[in-house]
Amino acid sequence: MAYPALQPLDTAQRGAGPYVWRFTLFNRLVHGLALSTFYILVLTGLPLRYACAPFASELMRLWGGVHMAGIIHRVAAVVMVAYSLVFAVYLIVRVVRSPNPKRMLWGSDSLVPHPQDAKDFLKQWKWYFTGRDRPRFGRYGYLEKLDFFGEVWGLVIIGGSGIVLWFPELFSRWLPGWWFNVATVFHGFEALIAACFIFIVHFFNVHLRPDKFPLDAVMFHGRATMQYMEEEHPELAEELALRPAPSREAVVDAPAPPPSREAVVDAPAPPPSRTASIVSAVLGFIALGVGIMCIGMILWAVAFC
């Protein structure tokens, strides 16, 4: 068998063909930090918001009490704000250093929402009903952009209201006290929206929809097959095929040029080692499992409270 044994589980390794790098090590580390801090924030905040839920007291006890959970919540929040700021600087540097900054800001490499995203969104709904003309995405489809800006929006709203609630005596110098009531509503609701969005949009789009089920570990080992790219990001795959890089045909016709060991986006990649596949799958399933557990707890709490 030419493919690693975990290939059937990891949709990023589907089919034949050479691999390309999709995410750098830095991208993946930030994503790892994002998901771990997000889960810590959810699991420390959820039992407070739904203090009436049957699991709330027990979960708080596991954290070491409501005040220890509060400290952990704040530490995770500070880490999240810190890596977000680092990532913002990284994005600015990427744009400035790019040989083609305009392409980074407004083009197929850009995360900035385009009119094309709105068209793709409508096209997607049309495809649901007609079964024809499924939208073709480039490097980032509208769902990836929603994931990204959902986090930015969530960070601003939840982080902003969170810091007001963290230092009420300080902020009451400028804000009348009823802002703390408003901040509580914004903090709790936006957190709920974020958690629901992660499950309904991110988990389904990335892992759980039938053509990707059960796991897409691209964000863990950083690479994907060309078949994956052609099916999930066809516009980008077409562009890559035009570049002097190995395509599927190239593999058949001639030995491929040596793949890059270092994760350089779009560069040819070696297949993930068996260890990398196993670690990625384990981490991926743990993350997915914790997320499903979180959404289960939210539903349980909503049903109970």
């Binding site: 709330a56 007291s57 495809w127 009420p168 009823w178 929206i193 309904i200 389904f204 929809r209």
Partner: protein, 408 residues
């Protein structure tokens, strides 16, 4: 001066000493020697009775009587009709009731629940009732001593002999500190639901106030005390606490047997529940705040009802003396939030997001966030569900999973 005073002092002391020394002789029990001749000898009595227990009941040792308060009485003071030997075979042994001497106590006892039960018992009903002897003893009756923990424990043992479930648990702050009679009255003991009971809701401020004067004094001035005073006493006073509009009295908040010390955090937690039984809206809005949620999760440092409203001097917010009045709110919040200012105290501690009048910014942000939540969740749940349906339909039709070919 001192030279003339010394002899007087010596003479005075001598007189007192002689009197004390002579007392036993003066107060020599007028006990009939004939009685103790037989009733002081267990073995003798045993020969005339069928069982040892019966014999024991008929024997009174002189040493017992000497220690009792009735040491100076003769046997016939209480036991009349035994002036012959052998005693009248069919004569009812006349035992004078305690009321012959202790009239006042007996009158009060006659109004209480124990007398009621003893009447029922005498009428042949299956009732158990404490009589004088059950608590005071017979030949060993001594003046009531409440001066030590042991003495109080001895007294309570008599009550607990029948009222076993009423015994105070050891961590009850009253355990060892009071006797049952401290609250329930010794002779005028009544059922808890009796209007005239010393522990009836309306009587509690006086009963508990006997020791807790400061708390009892402030109660009439606070909202609960006012409501108590304004209460129409006609209907259902005996079941005051069962009435929906009944204002709380001492035991409503502090409970009675097995109470917690108010200094303990557990008590404040218990109070949040207790206040909430009447103040339902304030309770639910409190539990919507960080204060309420953290308290529900076991925090012992965030604000509870008492922390802001006080305990025995609770007043409506529109009275300047109230701890939650505009004038005092900064100080009240400042107890935990040292830098609280006029801005800070505009926080709504009982926010009701549905109440536009009370807190418009809260209302509108709540509506906005709900629209956002249901909008996002609704649109994307549909987005996901239809996506799944599309892929499922395609798969059933045998179409390629990724639709790549359909584009070609």
């Amino acid at each position: 001066m001192s030279s003339t005073r010394t002899p007087n002092l010596v003479v005075g002391l001598a007189i007192i000493l002689c009197t004390v020394a002579a007392l036993p002789a003066v107060a020599q029990p007028a006990r009939d020697a004939q009685c103790t001749l037989c009733h002081g000898e267990l073995e003798l009595i045993r020969r005339h009775t069928t069982s040892l227990d019966e014999a024991r009941a008929l024997v009174v040792f002189d040493s017992t009587l000497r220690r009792s308060a009735h040491d100076s009485l003769s046997c016939s003071s209480c036991h009349t009709g035994f002036d012959r030997y052998p005693h009248e075979p069919n004569g009812q042994p006349g035992t004078r009731s305690c009321s012959a001497c202790h009239e006042a106590a007996a009158d009060v006892y006659a109004r209480g629940v124990h007398a009621e039960a003893s009447v029922a018992r005498d009428a042949g009903q299956p009732a158990r009732a404490a009589t004088c002897a059950d608590c005071h003893g017979i030949h060993d009756a001594v003046p009531i001593d409440t001066g030590s923990v042991d003495a109080r424990a001895r007294l309570n043992r008599d009550c607990v002999a029948c009222h076993a479930s009423a015994a105070l648990p050891p961590d009850d702050p009253h355990a060892g500190a009071v006797t049952c009679a401290s609250c329930h009255a010794a002779h005028d003991t009544r059922r808890v639901d009796d209007v005239a009971a010393s522990v009836a809701p309306l009587a509690q401020p006086a009963t508990c106030g006997a020791c807790h004067a400061a708390a009892a004094d402030s109660v009439p001035h606070d909202v609960h005390g006012r409501a108590l005073a304004a209460l129409d006493p006609a209907p259902g006073l005996s079941r005051l606490n069962a009435r929906d509009d009944a204002p709380p009295t001492c035991s409503s908040c502090h409970s009675a047997h097995g109470m917690r010390a108010p200094s303990r955090e557990a008590f404040e937690q218990q109070m949040v529940e207790a206040c909430g039984t009447c103040h339902v809206d304030y309770s639910s809005t409190y539990f919507g705040t960080y204060h309420g949620k953290a308290t529900a999760l076991g925090s012992e440092i965030v604000a509870t009802c008492n922390a802001c409203h006080g305990a025995h001097s609770i007043l409506p917010a529109d009275e300047p003396a109230s701890s939650v009045s505009d004038a005092q709110l900064i100080e009240t919040c400042g107890a935990c939030h040292p830098h609280a200012d006029a801005h800070f105290v505009l926080y709504d501690s009982h926010p009701d997001p549905w109440n536009r009048e009370r807190n418009p910014p809260l209302f509108y942000s709540f509506i906005f966030m709900n629209v956002l939540l249901f909008g996002v969740v609704g649109v994307f749940t549909l987005h996901t569900a239809l996506w799944w349906l599309r892929l499922w339909l395609d798969r059933r039709k045998g179409a390629p999973a990724h639709g790549r070919e359909t584009r070609d």
